[in-house]
Each structure stands twice: as structure tokens, then as C-alpha cells.
Symmetry: C2
Subunit: 334 residues, 2 copies
Amino acid sequence: MEARVNRQILLVEKPAGRLGPEHFRLTEAAPPAPKDGEVLLRVRYISLDAANRAWMQGATYRAAVEAGTVMAGGALAEVVESRGEGFAPGDLVFADTGWQDYAALPARELIKLPKITPLTHLLSVYGIAGLTAYFGLLHVGRPKAGETVVVSAAAGSVGSLVGQIGKIKGCRVVGIAGGREKCDWLTAELGFDAAVDYKAGPVFKALKSAAPQGIDVYFDNVGGDILEACLAQMNVRGRIACCGAISQYDGAPSGTGPRGVPGLLVIRRLVMQGFVVMDYFKARDQALGDLQSWVAAGKLKVQEDVIEGLENTPRALIGLLAGENRGKRMVRVG
Amino acid sequence: MEARVNRQILLVEKPAGRLGPEHFRLTEAAPPAPKDGEVLLRVRYISLDAANRAWMQGATYRAAVEAGTVMAGGALAEVVESRGEGFAPGDLVFADTGWQDYAALPARELIKLPKITPLTHLLSVYGIAGLTAYFGLLHVGRPKAGETVVVSAAAGSVGSLVGQIGKIKGCRVVGIAGGREKCDWLTAELGFDAAVDYKAGPVFKALKSAAPQGIDVYFDNVGGDILEACLAQMNVRGRIACCGAISQYDGAPSGTGPRGVPGLLVIRRLVMQGFVVMDYFKARDQALGDLQSWVAAGKLKVQEDVIEGLENTPRALIGLLAGENRGKRMVRVG
């Protein structure tokens, strides 16, 4: 067996304010040796997600990441050596490998994946992003044909799929994104009915013209002011699917929440529901079946943003938090 | 027919800040003559509700009340003369008569009520308050035996019933109320497991010891800081039934909402749901049946706070907003 080096990116310290390159450090170690029940993995593509930043703020649906350790993160990886049941070299898996070339993990923590082309779709439309869009919109938001669906971070990995699934279900779809270019892409390429550029002026007013019938389902990826603007325009019995709060992750969390909670919830009988995609995994096969058929039929366009090289993972995340990506961002490692 | 006078309480102007007696004026007019299809009603008991104040802020689930008109409000009333189908003199009804001795209303806007003893129960446990507690807790909050239910404005008309229904369903119940006396009443008389006096110090800490296992269902009558304190202590998959926001009604509405929205909703997969009791009226018979059997079995104690005289209605509402009532407040008119 050739001599191998395991490059690792450590979280040096947890950021108090905005995340920067200084919070990470690249180091090298020998690849780990799998113990009994474990599997040695070669990381192929690391998934970048706004949640990576949220993990630095404290415990979420998982334990907080700690300073001085390899930065946590989900990845598409290939089995190199297996001492765990059910896995053989060459198998593809999704796992929380962290930001490194190799990881040894218990077999029970791995999700086996099929070999499809392109592989990257396993991290985008058939990965957490696709399932989050699917379950969040259809199971939490529950849009009916003819209703108006609004989604924020609409050019991102989840948002770009939410809007397209909304169109497949016969809804009027409005995306909120940063910049003219992204907005044009949403309407011209992805079939959104309208897009609101939150960098171009107050969202409330632009949204009012983009969604003149009010909002029936708001898929919230951002929280903060945009959530507040949407809340005020919700129709009676509207549903807000709370997926994330990217506006709140990179800095000190806000000391207040959106105006209108709980007053508007009562008056308009709204439901606001937070969800975590893992809770819906029992219905995963159905979801993947639908997503695959929509991709095959050309109804669902998949946008990916692949950055090359493990060493670029920190800046890939920093850029994602600044909104520079379009579609699913990932880092190709090996 | 004897000469009759219709005393009326007008809303002189909508309050910009706190509601005071100066916002109302007592006047007299001739009783209205019912038109074809209408019914002339003699008001017996006027229901006082925090929502009365919310109606002054703007449209809610009903149109806003307007300055210069008779103050709106639901009441238990008796049919004096009927030109509408299905009603005869002597019938009891619930209707939005407004604050006055007599009202003429279309028959279709009246809800016929049975003649029970005491009549006042038709406005408390078998009225809007009881149904709100029942549907809000059981259909929106959906508590399971063994779970922890927290209710705010717990000594009020709705809250006092919510807590007792929670106990009937096998939950641990914590009430939040203002003052030692109310809190003692909740635990000593109504069977609450614990009570938190929000006037005695920060709610967060006191709630932490009163609900050491966290909160599974929070029935929110108040909004504001207390909602924020509860939100932070919700368990995974907890449910918040948003019934009202009494802390926000009497003055300028808050410019912000509770911290933790939407962040905590996502992390803990919470549902916050606003509701209006009328939406559940199709299941009214079932609810009334349950409430009656619980009252008959002595499991549900009904507390009423009856003020005498139409002229005292303004101060009855002002006092309710200040939290001076225990149980259902109403005004006996005639």
C-alpha cells in the first residue's frame, strides 16, 4: 500500500463575529487506521452548507463543532478498507467525514449510495439539498396548485429546487435572491414566475408586486428581515416552512425575532414549522423516485458549483455565507 | 309595550397608547326596530375578552372597530321580538350585540343557546373561552399524557381551563400568572402542578425549575417576553398554540418579535400555530359534550368574575387588560 497523507482542515477557533480564513488551518497527519466495525473512507466531494456555520454557534440538531478539531462536514466518500459489516472497497457512501482526505467511521454512521452519473448529484438533487427542498416544501409547506409559494435564498442549493418543485406542483413561484444576475437566472432558466432582488431595495414592497395575491407558502432559508417581510404578507391559513436562518449564522445571533410573532400567526391562523430533513428519511425512497423522474423529464434543473481542492474548503464556505454560489456548492477533494 | 331606552357605550376614539375610560362614552337612544329577517335582542351578559382591545388596533379575524360607533363585543342575549326565521321571544342566543341594552341583528348571525343553570356558563366554559381552551390545547397543542404543558395568562378565562384540561389528559401542567394569590389559586384549587408568578422576577429561571423536563406544549395567550422565555425551553418537536398576545394589545404593538424565531424552530423542529376558535366550530358538539362531562364529574372547575351594570363595561375591560380578573370576566346588563 502506498504511503498516504491525510490533509485535514482544523477549526482553529470559533468565530465571535464573521467567519474568516484565519479561523481554519491546514495540517497533515497519517490516515487513520479503521478499528473493528469501522470503515476507512477516501473523501471525494465535501458538501458545503450554511448549517456548517450554525454548528459553530452551539448545539443544533447535532453537537457543536469544537475548536482545535477537524472541521465537521458531510461528504461523498469511497470505501478504501472495510472492517465493518455491509461495506466493501469501492462502495460509495455519504458520511460526516469532516474536512479531510480520509476518515475512519463506524459502519452504522454511513449511508450507502448508488453509483450514478454525475456523482455530484448525490450531494445536490439526490442529497440533503434535494430532500430538504422536497420534504420541506411538500410535507411542511403543503402547497396546493394555484397557490403562491415564496422561497428565500432562492438561487441556493435548496431554494433553486424548492421553486422548481413548486412550479411542478402548479404554484405561482417567487424567489428572493441577492443580485440581478441571480434573479434573472431564476426567471429565465428555472421557470420562476418572479424574483425579488433583496440587494436592490426594501423586500416588502418588491415582494408585494411580485406576489400580489399574498403568500400561501413561504419556504424560509434566511430568517431575519426577509422573514419579517414575508410574514406580513402571508394569506390566511398560510404555512411557513422554517428550514434555516442563514442571515443569523455568520455573526452574533440577533437579539430579537421578526415582528408579527405571534400576533399575525393568530389573526391569520398561520403555521410556522421548523424541520430537519433527517426526520423525513423514512419517506426517502418516494422522494428520490419523484426527484429522479423530474430530473429525467427535464422539469428539474440541477445547478452545481464545484470548487477544486480541499485547501479551498474554508473560502468555499466563507463565500457561500456571502451568497456567492449558485446552486449546490461542494469541494472536489479526490 | 313599555317605553324602553337603549343605553349604549360608544368607542369615542381609538387609543394610541393604553386604553382608558376617556375612550368611551355612555349614551342613550331608542331601541332599534328589527327589520325583516332581523331579531331584536335584550343583552343579558356581555363577554369581556382581551381580543376586544385587539379589535381597536385594526382588522383581525374581524373588521376593526371604528371610533364613534357602539363598542363591539359578544354577549349572551334574549330574543325580545323576532322577524327572523327560527327564533322566538325568550330564546337565548350568543351574538355580537355590542355594548348596549338592545340590538337588532340578522337571524343568521345568531347562535342559539340552550337554557342551562347557571346561564353564565354559556359565556365561560361552554362559550368561546371553553371552546378556545379545548380546541387550542387538544387540536393545536396535541399534548400526550406525561408531557409538560405550560399556559400563560393561566388564571384567565381560557388559561384556567387549558391547565385543567391538560391535567385531565394526564400532563404535567405549569401556569404563568401575575401575583402570588393567583398562582396559589392555580395550584391549590385548580390542580396545576406548579405556577410561575411573572411579577415576582424573571420568568425564564422560575420556569426552568417549574418545568425541569422542558416544555412540550406551550399555550400562549400573551406573546412578548413570556413567549420568548417559553420558546427557549421548548423540547424537540414541541408545539406552541398561539391563541393571543395580550401583552401586545394595550399600547403600541412591539416593533420586534421573540428571539429564537426562526432559529429555535428549526433546531428543535417546533410548530407554532395561530388559531381562531371559530375555525373549529364543526367539532363543537364533541367539545361541548366533553366539557359538560368534565364539569359534571367535578374535574373542571369554572371560575367566573361577574361585574354588575352596563356602565361598568369600560372599566371591566380596562381591568381585564391589567390582569385583575380571575376566570371569565363578564358584565351583567339585564
